[in-house]
Amino acid sequence: MSPDAGAEPLPFGLGGLIFIGCYLLSLIGIGWLGRRASKETSLQDFYLGGKGVGFLVLWLTLFATQYSGNTIIGFTGKSAKIGFAWITAVQFMIAIVISYQLFAPKLHQLAKRHSFITPTDFLNHRFGSRAINLLATAIMVAALGNFFLAQLTAMGRAVEGLTTFDPDLAFAYGVVFLAAIMLVYELLGGFRAVAWTDVIQGTVLAVGFAVLLVLIFQQFGSPEETTRKLLEHSAEKATPPKGMALRQWINFILLFGCAGALYPQAIQRIYAAKSSRALRRGLAAMSFMPLCATLIAILVGVTVAAHLPESLEGAKTDTALTVMLRQVAEGGCFGTAIVVLILAAILGAIMSTGDSALLSISSMLTKDIYQGFVSPGASQKRLTMVGKLVSIVLVFSLTALTIYLNQLEGEITLVQLLGMKFDMLIQLAPAFMIGIHWKGMRAGPVFLGMAAGLVFALSFFWVPAEGMGVLSMIKSSGFNPGLYGLVLNLVICVGGSALVNRPKKVAG
């Protein structure tokens, strides 16, 4: 499911553009403030903001990072397509927070004590295996690369919807312009800039969701009216899911719940929490965000499906929000102002997720690959400089790739493979969630399990969904191959570690 702000232009006058422009410029201003607050030239300061952030900033940065453009655009589109069955999204977003219980408290303590910067730092501390470091970093960089690519695409789509230019041109300009702003404030202030801009973006996002909630009731009437209309013409969108839909419901909770918590940028926010009290409060507050944000996105999608079904016919599902916003914009100046605010929230959601992903990839390539394998003795100043260079190269190359992919009819295979990011990320779960508690877990079996799970999951990319073979049946079972890979991974790493640890008989 790729974020897509809508294929049709949505002009809203000069005032709206000035508002959006000021909002974007304020982000650069915050980046500059972040630079002034910087205390030293070190990786710790650049990637984690020195001593870390307190409850409010942590909560809003977690919110803005986890709730991307996908939440606000993709989730409305998906719920417009499948109806209330997408309430599974509320549950899998809660499941992500539940998963943090398994490792966040201990990981935070370890990170503070040993000054971890990247997720691989923990794995290195725990297992001391270069093979695990390399494989885990590769998995996380690949997953985040795809994630960043999706955010860049979403930026282009959002600008496409904002202007009346040629769509391809608007897309390209949009990606370049927004990616440049993101890069500038990130280079200026590093993690501080990202976290502080997340505060603004998170606040605008929260306001946007609140406005959306009011809008759907004001514009389209009571929920009962919506439900009855949906039952009249698309009953399957309002009745309980069965069969495959139900299996996918469980699949999403298991897959996203487990893998979503292992996003490197989320792990780095665990490191960046100023104290465990701040982290504890931040995560407790995050437990309720699915009900405050995801649920509203679903209600918007369902409302559009009930009241404007003809607008969705033949269009991309991700256009559901745009369809509703066009309806709202027709309501005069007030309607236009609301639309501008929501679009600012969408841009904020996309950019806050994109900048976190960029910072995280840059930190891993610098700390885990450059310092870990190329130049272990490099000074902090040099590492910080390399980190910034990596960010610049990443933004340039991925922006070019995004524009290139937009001009292609279909996605290239490598990008489609990277789309299996959750199937890849979930293979890190045993090393983090079990390895942090079980002393007996050994590096060898962990590496083998991770590699086997990954290969098993990715190999399903080439397995046809329809067929009589066992692999085809697994692929079409409703559960992601990543979950089957995780089972294999668990068997190898837990079973292997138990075998290695078994008491040896002493001769004689």
């Binding site: 209330f84 303590q109 725990r126 009855r228 899911p241 909770i253 465990s276 009290r277 699915p290």
Partner: protein
Amino acid sequence: MHRRLLEKAHKWQETRNSDLELGKEMLQKLVHSVRELDSNSRKDSEIFLSENTSLINGYRVWLGELIARGCECKGLNSGLRSRLEVQLRNLEHYEELYKSDRHLWSNEREHLHKQFLRLTQETLAILRRVYWLTRLTRSTHFDRPGKTGHDPLLFPATMSRSSGFFSIRVWIVYLILFVIGIPWYWPSGDERIFLGFPLWVVVTIAVSFVISCYTARLFWNHWPSLDEEEGQE
């Protein structure tokens, strides 16, 4: 003296040629120390009621040191400290009971020992619940931190309040909530409406809210207090 003898014994064992002279020397010293003990120590019957036996005195010194270290590390709050002091008072009380006839019989001594062991175990159980014990035991119970995975913080002896996170009860509650929250048991085509939404949607959202509350409560109340900063905040 006991410690010195042990050290010598270990040294003797490590000597490959089993130095017999060293063995003889040790035996002589042992005999000497036993004689000294017999001649200089008082019998229990001669100890006044106001005095404690060496067992109580040893326990008091040991406990006092632990309390002092605990307070220094800010890991021992006043509640736990008073519980430890109650343990000590209980032990003294038992001793006074047994020595009421100014004599400690062997069976009474045995009872007192059992009581001592029980209280020591309870004391340790209390102490294990606070982080500073991990710090005290770090150098002896764990290997070097880092690559071996034997970091005391990574694998501490215990984690206080962690039971809320990792107890099987927590995960059973989650399992039950998700089993109710996932709409597998609703009849297909159910069109009942409640509060403006399909009934199954209302139930699913309500259960999701309960899951959120339960999760927030766990974060709020059951976060393992391994935090050094906690006291400072």
